[in-house]
Amino acid sequence: MSAFNAIGEERDIDRDEFTPEIEPQATWCPGCGDFGVLKALKQAMPEVGRNPEETLLVTGIGCSGKLSSYFRSYGFHSIHGRSLPVARAAKMANPDLEVIAAGGDGDGYGIGGNHFMHTARENHDMTYIVFDNEIFGLTKGQTSPTSPKGHKSKTQPHGSAKQPIRPLSLALTSGASYVARTAAVNPNQAKEILTEAMEHDGFAHVDFLTQCPTWNKDAKQYVPYIDVQDSDDYDFDITDRGEASEMMQEAEDALYEGKVLTGRFYHDEDRPSYQQEKRNAGDMPEEPLAERYFDDDYEWERSYDLLDRHK
């Protein structure tokens, strides 16, 4: 289709193509983990073989939400917590697009928690990256849903009385078909995981540990990371829900005890994506909706033909 000829164009793709002429230093602090996500994502794109122009990156609000400014693709910097619903619909309207949604832990697990649960449940075909720095960065260091219990901030001066959210387990129980955790300080693993997540046909959730040296001095980057796949100490079947679930719980408990377990936790390649389910049910067309509006020969149905039932 002429209107979208950037899609499916086969050629060698260079990661520099994803760099607009604008500097992330403009908003991100020196040493911020967000740089790591940006870099890993740019490195993963050529691996996946996607063009900037067939990629749509939808972000929320927060320091993390600025990712779409520094990544050159079609972008949508939406509102706090709402990247997923915007992204979901774009993917449904044009299934040929590579759709990535991204935001912070406050954005994704707090205000957008409902959307997270439902997007995972429906298994939309997209990648969701959550910059998990255990803090609200942009609004200057308030306690976030992943901040540890007892965490003190200006809004929790006596220390948070809440247990942190368990993003991996939450993604799994909600229905995500791919769940992983990686970290900004682990660029190789991050690139591999993002590549795999984008290639996965279903909802791929990546809890991306990022450090916020400005507001969160306890950032996890200072402790050694263990990759659960590389380590002989952890043996579990990532296609088995039960085993994956146990492993996630271990990782989530360990995180707040100073042991950072990363890697792939769950991968279900058999479950059809939501788009596929909907197509099977006759509820969604194969081809992008947008193409039709550019196609002069498309036969548009008319409401006039529906009037029989009203006579």
């Binding site: 697009l97 039709r292 509006y293």
Partner: protein, 633 residues
């Protein structure tokens, strides 16, 4: 109040099949050549609870439910169907009879199911029958239904009895039944229908005067609700994506769309909440589809932030707001026009949106088409504002009103060929260009669609520069704000080009005016006719372009009259305030007639309201309406 019309009320418990029976009966009347208007009254309960549907039919155009009614079919009901529960809610069972007597006209007809209802339980029944010269037919509809089929078919028996008493040709009803059912069910229903028809003719003396009017409409007519009008308008504009979350009465338009979209190659999504619903519409539109969402008051409140997002990112969307009585959850099944200011001003900052308020099902169709056209051409959110009355009320519309070509134009987008020539900056397409003068799109910069080569840009809810990057540069801010805000003026000009823009009803040189918006249109037109017949001099304007406001038309209208009544269904005169705010004058000329009891205006209330304020004397104490004068000038 003449009886050259039939106003037939079928009453019972919700779950009694009142809706489907009345739909069919209304169609039968339409097929006999009459114009039809329906009014649905129901409580916020699923089973049980007193409910009725009114069908008004006459040879001339019908524009409102009319005043009161003249034929009651009271069905025995399903108030206490749950076997675990005793017959509950006190005397609920006799409600189909007792609750409806107040509005029955003198000389009216009552048919009730003596198999289930006991008129002697109503204390003053006989006395009232006598006083009002009502003609009562007690028929064992349940018994009749049971004998030939199943008990639930008692509404068919009721329709058969109605047809006999009104001297109607059964054929219209039989044809409709044959379309809707088959096999044993059809046989049983037909038999019950005929049996009831004959037994009423054979066993009862017909003492009443009311007969079905004879109709003569030439046009092929269809019976549609405002929600159908909106849905069909959207489909004809090429809307192929809808996302929603159920909320009465918005659910009507949402379900109609959902019934058709899959087979038309479109997508309908039920999502987790209204924030998601509006956000999905934005995502789909960004990706190049014509998209819509909507809700009612509370759900629309949740859409406030996405609405602003659509505005600043210049992503076209159409939202429907189906008003019901508020505040908060208010009265879910009752109409009100109380969300006007909510829809006009919700969302932060100087945000702009287009608002249309159609007045009847035919206008719902046209205005929804307009809403899509404007939204996509100008890249701005457009809202179709209507209410519970228009949502579910059906009206006959000439079929050829819908005989219009589809419009799949996606508005101001660039082609890939244009993108090859386009100026880029920072590796991105200048999607939010300021100086796009040659393009001839007043205030509008053209957008690219994801997937188009050379078109990548960032849509951002933050203030942004020409390629979409966040920018707090004061000069950029002013230019972008001015560009976005200038759209409303351009839209106002475009809308004004339409010849019958904001039509005036009634004699041009009338002394007094009645100003209204939305679903009160028909009632007011009927009231205007009656007032002029009674020797008053009145004309009316029902405003459907709410934002941008048609300042010139309304100014001319108000200048031409001595005084004007502003009729609206809310307590705080929101529309009158909007008129005064937009025009900055006329305070001394405007008087509000307000109604907010959960029921739509009846023509008589508008007539009396007018007479009490502008034309002389009238006693308003019997109605739930209020007159209020405007302040300021």
């Amino acid at each position: 109040m003449t009886d050259d019309e039939l106003i037939w009320r079928i009453a019972g418990g919700s779950g009694d099949g009142i809706d489907s029976t009345s739909q069919n009966f209304a169609k039968a009347l339409m097929r006999s050549g009459l114009n039809v208007f329906t009014h649905r009254h129901y409580p916020s309960r699923i089973r049980g609870g007193h409910t009725y549907v009114e069908i008004r039919a006459k040879d001339e155009p019908v524009k409102s439910r009319g005043d009161n009614y003249n034929f009651l079919l009271a069905l025995g009901d399903s108030f206490a169907r749950n076997p675990q529960e005793e017959a509950y809610y006190g005397n609920e069972e006799i409600k189909p009879l007792s609750e409806n007597l107040d509005e029955l006209r003198e000389g009216g007809v009552i048919v009730y199911d003596s198999g289930l209802l006991d008129a002697s339980e109503i204390e003053d029944f006989d006395q009232r029958v006598e006083e009002n010269d009502w003609h009562v037919y007690d028929l064992d509809l349940r018994g009749l239904a049971k004998e030939h089929g199943r008990e639930v078919m008692r509404n068919t028996a009721g329709v058969g009895a109605t047809a006999a008493l009104l001297d109607m040709d059964l054929q219209y009803i039989e044809d409709l039944m044959e379309d809707a059912m088959s096999g044993d069910v059809l046989e049983a229903n037909l038999q019950i229908l005929e049996e009831a028809y004959e037994s009423v003719n054979d066993d009862y003396e017909h003492t009443h005067d009311i007969r079905a009017p004879t109709g003569s409409t030439d046009d092929e007519q269809v019976l549609v609700s405002g929600s159908h009008g909106i849905a069909y308008g959207a489909l004809d504009e090429g809307c192929r994506f809808i996302s929603g979350y159920p909320m009465t009465p918005w659910t009507d338009v949402y379900t109609i769309m959902t019934q058709h979209l899959p087979e038309m190659g479109g997508i309908s999504e039920q999502v987790e909440d209204e924030i998601a619903a509006a956000s999905l519409a934005i995502g789909a539109s960004h990706a190049g589809a014509k998209a819509m969402s909507g809700s009612s008051g509370g759900g629309f409140a949740l859409m406030s932030e996405p609405l602003g997002l659509a505005e600043i990112t210049e992503t076209p969307i159409v939202l429907v707001e189906a008003m019901r009585a508020g505040p908060s959850t208010g009265m879910p099944t009752k109409p009100e026009q109380g969300d006007l200011e909510h829809v006009l001003y919700t969302s932060q900052g100087d945000s702009n949106r287009v608002v249309f308020a159609p007045g009847d099902p035919a206008e719902c169709y046209e205005q929804t088409r307009k809403a899509f056209e404007i939204a996509y051409e100008y890249q701005i959110p457009a809202i179709v504002l209507y209410d519970q009355k228009l949502s579910g009320g059906h009206q006959t519309v000439p079929e050829d009103h819908f005989d219009e070509e589809p419009n799949p134009d996606i508005g101001s987008v660039v082609t890939e060929a244009e993108l090859e020539e386009a100026v880029q900056e920072a590796g991105r397409f200048k999607r939010y260009m300021y100086d796009d003068e040659d393009s001839g799109f007043g205030g509008v910069s053209r957008r690219s669609i994801p997937g188009q080569k050379g078109g990548n840009f960032l849509a951002s809810g933050n203030e942004h520069n020409e390629v979409g990057h966040i920018s707090e540069d004061p000069n950029n801010r002013v230019v972008q704000m001015n560009r976005r805000m200038s759209k409303l003026d351009a839209i106002r000009d475009e809308l004004a080009e339409n010849a019958d823009h904001q039509p005036v009803y009634g004699p041009e040189d009338a002394e007094y005016g009645i100003l209204s918006f939305g679903s009160t249109k028909g009632v007011i037109e009927e009231a205007v006719d009656r007032l002029n017949d009674d020797g008053h001099s009145v004309k009316a304007m029902n405003v459907s372009d709410i934002m941008p406001f048609p300042k010139d038309d309304v100014t001319a209208f108000l200048e031409s009259v001595d005084e004007s009544l502003v009729v609206e269904m809310n307590a705080s005169a929101q529309f009158r305030r909007h008129v005064q705010g937009q025009l900055g004058r006329f305070g001394e000329k405007l008087y509000s007639l307000l109604k907010y009891d959960g029921n739509p205006f009846e023509p008589e209330e508008v007539v009396s309201g007018f007479e009490s304020r502008l034309g002389g004397e009238a006693d308003l104490s019997q109605y739930n309406v209020r007159i209020e004068s405007a302040t300021g000038d």
